[in-house]
Symmetry: C2
Subunit: 322 residues, 2 copies
């Protein structure tokens, strides 16, 4: 049983991009290097022959304090001299990479090519940027998210960036997930966790791929079985996604675009569910799924709001552990 107080032991967060990065930033502000973030790699893609990891890098830049808050991706004060030249060479530029961001992909590519593992390379990048938490890709093996639309199966970034999330999504698959091993350190972190937080990322395409890794799902089940709280935070507030297409995706996949719809997805995994004040009326129905409910302000408008929501998630792991 963890002691109440400022030292709750190691915490693991499962996260996708921006929403996950914000909560991770709040958690890092509270517990520093006791935080491990497991990030989705299903959105990763190859651009100009380089591996690009949107979720890992958004979380890394956010935790390093250099994220571009204007764009929601990339690095603050970014320039695009290389992108203009890539365009001149006829390279496809719908996924526009800034000059500093390119340095991340170039460095990662060089080190992977030299034989280093994906997680080891990512940890090196994080260290260089003085990130206090540990960010682990969910797997060193390639897993790729595809969505089936009226235009057929699309790679995730084609749907997300090139087509502006406009096509309706009828089905989602995570190529490679079944045979992918959890990345080095992932199972160990989950087995050592005193608390697990599922960030308010898209439950289908951001958290979904993480849960599709068999070793990770098993470790989460083990954690719950040994009494660890698994706290999921709703990324749907008032029926709308705070960012991205989660609301429309839930609807087109035949689920409810609401905190209740999200809670149903996590009902067989999480112990606790955090929902926004505006959705307080859904708390009884969510409670009926067998989840402890926590109604609070979940909108992370600034660093203070991030830290406060993070503190509330941490408090759940302490005060209500059974």
């Amino acid at each position: 049983m963890p002691e109440p107080g400022p030292s709750p032991g190691p915490v693991v967060a499962l996260a996708g991009g921006v929403g996950g990065a914000k909560l991770a930033h709040g958690l890092q502000a509270q517990i520093g290097d006791r935080l491990t973030v497991i990030v989705n790699t299903g959105d990763d893609l190859e651009r100009h022959g380089l591996l690009v990891m949107p979720d890992h890098d958004t979380v890394m830049y956010t935790l390093a304090g250099i994220a571009n808050s204007e764009f929601g991706w990339g690095i603050e004060g970014e320039t695009f001299a290389a992108a203009a030249m890539l365009e001149r060479y006829g390279e496809p530029t719908w996924f526009r990479l800034g000059d500093r961001d390119l340095a991340t992909h170039i460095t990662r590519n060089a080190r992977l090519q030299a034989g280093a593992g994906l997680t080891a390379v990512c940890l090196g990048l994080q260290r260089a940027l003085r990130v206090r938490a540990t960010i682990l890709p969910m797997s060193d093996d390639p897993v790729r998210t595809d969505v089936r639309t009226d235009d057929g199966w699309l790679e995730f970034q084609d749907y997300f960036v090139a087509r502006h999330q406009e096509p309706e999504v009828h089905e989602v698959r995570f190529r490679g997930a079944e045979s992918a091993a959890a990345a080095p350190g992932v199972v160990e972190a989950l087995d050592a966790a005193a608390l697990i937080v599922i960030a308010p990322s898209n439950p289908i395409v951001s958290v979904g791929p993480i849960l599709a890794i068999i070793e990770i799902r098993a470790a989460l089940d083990r954690a719950r079985d040994r009494g660890i709280r698994i706290v999921a935070v709703s990324g749907i507030v008032g029926g709308k996604a705070l960012k991205g297409p989660a609301d429309r995706m839930l609807a087109s996949l035949g689920q409810e675009s609401s905190a209740l719809g999200v809670a149903r997805i996590y009902a067989d995994l999480a112990t606790d569910f955090v929902l926004d004040n505006v959705d307080a009326g859904l708390a009884p129905a969510i409670g009926a799924l067998g989840l402890w409910t926590h109604v609070t302000d979940t909108i992370m408008t600034d660093d203070t709001a991030r830290a406060r929501l993070a503190a509330e998630c941490l408090a759940i792991g302490l005060s209500q552990a059974t």
Copy 2:
């Protein structure tokens, strides 16, 4: 026998970096797409997992009119946002690449990785930059120049950039040259040439690797045998290299650091030798090597000077063909 006049037929230039790029620029101004430049690839290197081709790219940027005249390498108005970030990641940055220049290496890397040949990739880059001439790498096979110094064998760019050409060079080798095939189009261009120009590049480490490719050397010998003029331009003026370490390298390799020293290197290959006015006194000795000598102003201070020297080289191929 070529007709006198503005249409001398196809011309091939052998070139290294800056000096070669300047004369190639002058030749392109005179004859446009009838120019083929065969560039040294012995200076090529891997940086951050990407193939960098200093001589090809210097010639390409110069012929595209976007070369950085201040640095002598890279692209005009270059920025270094990615380089600063690469440094932050702990990447070695002694070979500092600008943001736009990086786009060249990224694009080339992506296309090579996708299976395209080196020459095909380079031609695609040149077309995108609207280069009128054709720039051919000497070989698609890797050839790498090493220099032996008091510190032992060094890769060329380690000597040239990292150590500022300070160590004395006692020996030079071109790794891979013996088994390297001429790149697609190189032998064909030489066999079709009405005139061949050896640019005022370093005769040892810029032109030397090109001549070390057996197929290229054989094509040059064939051209001379069929009466084609091979015009070498001295890059040593008044005993000094206009740029780079050619003068000290000639001396430390036991040769004469003068236009005569350069002429001796080319004596068994060239038919003609262009030397600067200040070296007019060396003309008799160079003539005694069996070379036609042409004394003129060889300093290419601006575009007009480049075009004028180029015109003089072209005129040799016309007026004095035997």
